[in-house]
């Protein structure tokens, strides 16, 4: 099978030399395909590895996936530093340049809208976790043999245990609710100060690297000029919510805002 075309991103126009020195997911040089007032940034891939069937298998190989994901991101991020781009999702592959041109022509309206939305803006990621260490401990009901119902005799220790257990579960749930409410409020504050906001599913604990449950996995589209202000806002939200642990990543290319019909949460 012959070469396919891996799409990295789409821009309005790129100056000569804009992609010089950049290499794609197989190490081949990045190049451009232009039509309809848009420029696709692409690199060649072998359909033996990147055609539908092999791609499906390769995506299940974690080492392959990480290498390819980071190589794709490196190209997108370098361009996004100094240009307005619509990032392509991972593994958008065309059979040839004609296919790319057809996509640009067909999707021009959507792409123009996204380019306008992300122009002069970058994405920031804010993750929030329940922070049990700082959460207030609700009062535990007193447990003593005097609390046992009269005549329960030898059943008291078991009953007392169950009461404590139930109270602990209620306390845990209360803490969780408190943290979840805090994350909702914080997200609303951040979203109000961003051009757009989007929520990704919370990451599984085994993947996030933290034992506490993730309550918010937010992405915010922010004017580049307001980046410091946004970081300060995130910091102030973290400070005012002792029940939350807050992590900030960015700036990102606007991956989370690249879909044509993106809606705010």
């Amino acid at each position: 099978m012959g070469d396919g075309v891996w799409l990295h991103a789409i821009a309005r126009d790129l100056e000569p030399g804009a992609v010089e020195g950049l290499t794609g997911v197989t190490g081949a040089p990045v190049r451009t395909v232009a039509t309809a007032g848009l420029v696709a940034v692409a690199s060649p891939v072998d359909l033996d590895q990147f055609g539908a069937e092999p791609l499906r298998r390769n995506l299940e190989d974690l080492a392959w996936l990480e290498r390819v994901a980071r190589a794709h991101h490196a190209v997108v991020a370098e361009l996004a530093r100094t240009h307005t781009v619509v990032p392509a999702p991972l593994a958008t592959v065309y059979r040839d340049d004609a296919g790319v041109r057809e996509m640009l022509t067909q999707r021009r309206g959507d792409l123009d809208a996204v380019l306008e939305r992300v122009d002069g803006r970058a994405e920031w990621g804010v993750k929030m976790y329940a922070e049990p260490a700082a959460a207030p401990q609700p009062q535990q009901p007193a447990q003593s043999s005097q609390d046992a119902p009269a005549g329960s005799g030898a059943a008291s220790p078991g009953l007392a245990y169950l009461k404590r257990r139930r109270a602990q579960l209620s306390a845990d749930e209360e803490q969780w609710r408190h943290a979840a409410d805090g994350a909702e409020a914080a997200h609303a504050t951040l979203a109000a100060c961003a051009a757009a906001a989007r929520r990704h599913p919370p990451q599984d604990r085994r993947l996030s690297g933290r034992p506490e449950p993730m309550l918010l996995n937010g992405a915010y589209l922010v004017d580049r000029r307001s980046a410091d202000q946004f970081a300060d806002l995130v910091a102030s939200q973290a400070a005012s919510h002792a029940e939350l642990r807050v992590e900030l990543t960015g700036p990102w290319p606007p991956y989370s805002f690249a879909a044509a019909d993106e809606a705010s949460p």
Binding site: L59, L62, P89, R95, G99, L207, S236, V246
Partner: protein, 64 residues
């Protein structure tokens, strides 16, 4: 003024990167379940529009 540490995107965890790279897309036929450390990470759908001569083929991934 309180401050917060920022982790730059170039040093992002793979999970943070994949959250973004696998978002959106068109629903498709054929499914792949990606796993990291035994945890099903995403449910990825793949499609190939097989091309007859002259018709471009597109392969896109989408996240469920």
């Amino acid at each position: 003024m309180t401050s917060i540490a920022v982790r730059p995107a170039e040093r992002a965890s793979l999970v943070d990167l994949l959250d973004r790279l696998l978002a959106t897309g068109v629903v498709i036929t054929g499914e792949v379940t990606l796993s990291i450390a035994g945890v099903d990470l995403v449910y990825v759908s793949l499609r190939a529009l097989l091309s007859s001569a002259g018709t471009p083929g597109i392969i896109e991934t989408a996240r469920r």
